[in-house]
């Protein structure tokens, strides 16, 4: 009788433990209690407004990862609760969302925002509360204008610009024309391109700009054509890039005698660019993260496994491939959960910030993250690759 009771209680205990811990892992050896308070994380995303395309992908990635982390036992057995706020691509709303997350939800850290302006706008509240922020926006200013509380996951312009300029130089071009937007991304890249080009001995013979929303870039391209540039670098994250290529095609800059090679950055790593520009984008070369084509890493590498595993799960859940924005959100969440495991779920904001800064060798979507007290982006040009658009799809350039 005593024996039977012991067997039954053991079986019950095992069943409970298994159902909570799921497939096991680190948490399996810990004492687990379902009644423990969840660890609250905030996210500020642009689910509506201009950057809705970015925010939607980021939300999908975060939902997927939170569920996976919780199924695997959460942080030391405590579930993760993600509170998502929409900033409507509006800086004032991003500030309101951040203060709501801090004051009302008492989150331990905030992921976001989707845009550079929104990420910068939240700084006041972030600094006041001492809560760490991991941004998924690409603006260099986010980590260049240094704030100890702020981290960033996308490949920043500080590494992408020299990488692309090196490729232009390696292709034998010396006189380049720059066409950048006056919005956040282009304005961020332009001074970097100017200094970096000078360092590499490249001459900028024409520097033209356009405003976000412009529907015709013929005037700028006409001037670029008569400047005698032997390569054109476009620096924008907007949909105007496709218009530029179509205008260039009409001006005879894409084939025949007047052909000029066009280069770009992460802003063109979008299916919509190749689709929208159609034949005009053939041969377009851009630099961005290696993970755009996971095979870049080599199928035996850890990076390949991480990216491929994430892509597979994302495809199963949503029926589509993750774009780079989903990848940046995946990285932000991975960095935060790893730091939470290191510092412990009860760690205060300062300890959590230190744990994030201590991140070393974390293989994610963007590459291998290694933060330091000076570098809160943590990626290098080793994490980047060149791509050329061929037959409407990007192929890695050897």
């Amino acid at each position: 009788m005593k024996h039977a009771l012991r067997v039954v209680s053991l079986a019950l205990g095992l069943a409970v433990a298994l159902s909570i811990v799921g497939c096991g892992g680190q948490g399996a050896t810990e004492e687990v209690s379902q009644s423990a308070e969840p660890v609250k994380i905030g996210a500020v995303l642009s689910l509506t407004g201009t950057y809705a395309g970015l925010g939607a992908a980021e939300k999908q990635a975060l939902d997927l990862e939170v569920k996976r982390a919780n199924d695997a036992g959460g942080i030391d057995g405590r579930q993760i609760e993600l509170v998502i706020e929409d900033d409507a691509t509006d800086e004032a709303k991003a500030v309101a969302a951040a203060s709501k997350l801090i004051e009302q939800d008492n989150v331990v850290a905030i992921l976001g925002a989707s845009g550079t302006g929104q990420s910068m706008a939240m700084r006041g509240d972030i600094d006041r509360a001492g809560v760490p922020l991991i941004s998924m926006a690409g603006g260099t200013v986010i980590t260049q204008k240094f704030d100890p509380q702020v981290f960033q996951t996308p490949w920043s312009n500080t590494i992408v610009v020299p990488f692309v300029l090196d490729a232009i130089k390696a292709a034998g071009h010396t006189d380049i024309a720059l066409l950048s937007d006056t919005g956040g991304y282009g304005k961020d890249g332009k001074p970097l391109i100017e200094t970096s080009a000078a360092e590499k001995g490249l001459k900028i013979v024409a520097s033209e700009t356009f405003n976000p929303g412009d529907a015709d870039m013929t005037a700028q391209l006409t001037k670029i054509r008569s400047s005698g540039a032997d390569a054109v670098l476009i620096w924008t994250a907007g949909k105007e890039a496709a218009t530029i290529m179509k205008n260039a095609e009409a001006l005879g800059m894409r084939e025949g005698d007047g052909v000029v090679p066009f280069f770009g950055g992460s802003g063109q790593a979008r299916v919509e660019f190749a689709e929208g520009a159609g034949p005009a984008a053939e041969g377009f070369v851009f630099g961005t993260g290696k993970s755009l084509v996971p095979n870049n890493w080599g199928v035996d590498s850890e990076a390949y496994k991480v990216v491929n595993d994430f892509s597979t799960r994302y495809r199963q859940a949503y029926g589509q491939d993750p774009d780079i924005f989903a990848g940046h959100a995946f990285d932000a969440f991975s960095i935060l959960t790893r730091a939470l495991k290191t510092a412990g779920p009860d760690a205060d904001a300062a300890a959590l910030r230190d744990a994030i800064e201590g991140t070393q060798g974390l293989v994610g979507f963007g590459g291998t993250f290694g933060f330091s007290a000076q570098d809160h982006n943590g990626l290098t040009t080793d994490d980047l690759a060149l791509y050329r658009i061929e037959n409407g799809v990007w192929e890695p350039v050897e």
Binding site: T48, G49, T50, A52, G53, G55, A56, T182, E208, T209, F210, N211, G213, D214, A215, D216, T218, A219, Q220, T222, K223, R225, S226, K239, E240, A242, T243, K246, N247, E249, A250, L251, G252, E272, E275, G276, G278
Partner: protein
């Protein structure tokens, strides 16, 4: 490259954007004539035209049919918008109509975001092939389409207004609503018709330009401002003046982008607009107001 060819290229680019502005401006003048109010949802009709066109193509419709369906569907949305949002304003106060259209534009944009998603969409070119060359300047085939469609719309509108009973009824309503009602014209129906026509013109502009620029749920606000500026520049309430204003605005922008810094492009058009408002508030080509429809 000789400078004449460069100038010609700027002029072509200017007339291309200008034609689009003209079509949108026409929509503003139609609604203004009928209600005395500015329809700030006009840009959203431009957006809806392009988005619906892409959607009809994705359903397998041939392009001409998709374009026609998109124009018709947007006109229906315009009429519905008037019936649901504008008509309930019983006193017809223009200020209240303006505020309702601002709210309506936000609603239309958010509906488009949820129906068609946040990413930009591409519409195929009306005719494929390389661009045409004239005296060293290039003209995209789509640009020729834009010009042709704008001309067609303007001629069609003039014929409608001058030759048909329906058009005459619309003009009568805009001149004197009460008198028009006394002679048996359904003035309310004319307002609905004005919204439907304005929506159709906006949709046509959005469709004509979509193969060049792609379209997205958020393109309406920007073009709305341009079209409004064009209408003011030419003179509100006069369709021909609105077309002139559109072409002029496009030319100014293109020449500013070509010969000055492109950053000043939008500034130049705003400065000209302000100058017109100060010196000649009825518009460059406008008469004394809405009587000239």
């Amino acid at each position: 490259m000789p400078d004449v060819a460069e100038l010609l290229q700027f002029v072509i680019a200017g007339l291309k954007s200008g034609s689009i502005y003209a079509l949108v401006a026409l929509g503003f003048t139609l609604v203004y004539a009928a209600t005395g109010a500015i329809n700030f949802a006009q840009g959203e009709f431009y957006m809806l035209g392009g988005m619906l066109g892409v959607w009809f193509v994705s359903l397998g419709l041939p392009l001409p049919l998709a374009v026609l369906s998109a124009v018709t569907a947007t006109a229906a949305v315009g009429a519905l918008f008037e019936l649901l949002a504008v008509r309930p304003i019983s006193d017809g106060n223009p200020l209240r109509i303006i505020i309702v259209t601002i709210g309506g534009s936000v609603v239309l944009r958010q509906i488009a975001l949820h129906l068609f998603g946040p990413d930009e969409l591409a519409l195929p070119a009306f005719t494929t092939g390389s661009s045409l060359k004239i005296a060293g300047a290039a003209i995209e085939r789509q640009t020729v389409w834009i010009w042709a469609l704008t001309a067609l719309a303007v001629v069609g509108l003039v014929v409608l207004y001058r030759k048909t009973t329906f058009g005459k009824a619309m003009r009568a309503t805009s001149l004197n609503r009460d008198a028009a009602r006394l002679v048996g014209i359904d003035a309310r129906a004319m307002v609905t018709a004005a919204f439907a026509l304005a929506a159709a013109l906006g949709a046509l502009a959005g469709l004509a330009v979509a193969p060049l620029t792609q379209t997205a749920f958020d393109v309406g606000a920007g073009i709305g401002v341009k079209g409004f500026s064009a209408a003011i520049l030419g003179g509100l309430g006069n369709p021909i003046a609105a077309v002139g204003g559109g072409l002029l605005l496009g030319l100014l922008e293109s020449l500013a982008a070509g010969y000055l810094d492109p950053v000043y492009k939008d500034a130049v058009s705003v400065v000209v607009l302000l100058a017109v408002l100060f010196l000649r508030p009825q518009g460059l080509l406008g008469g004394s107001g809405k009587e000239k429809v």
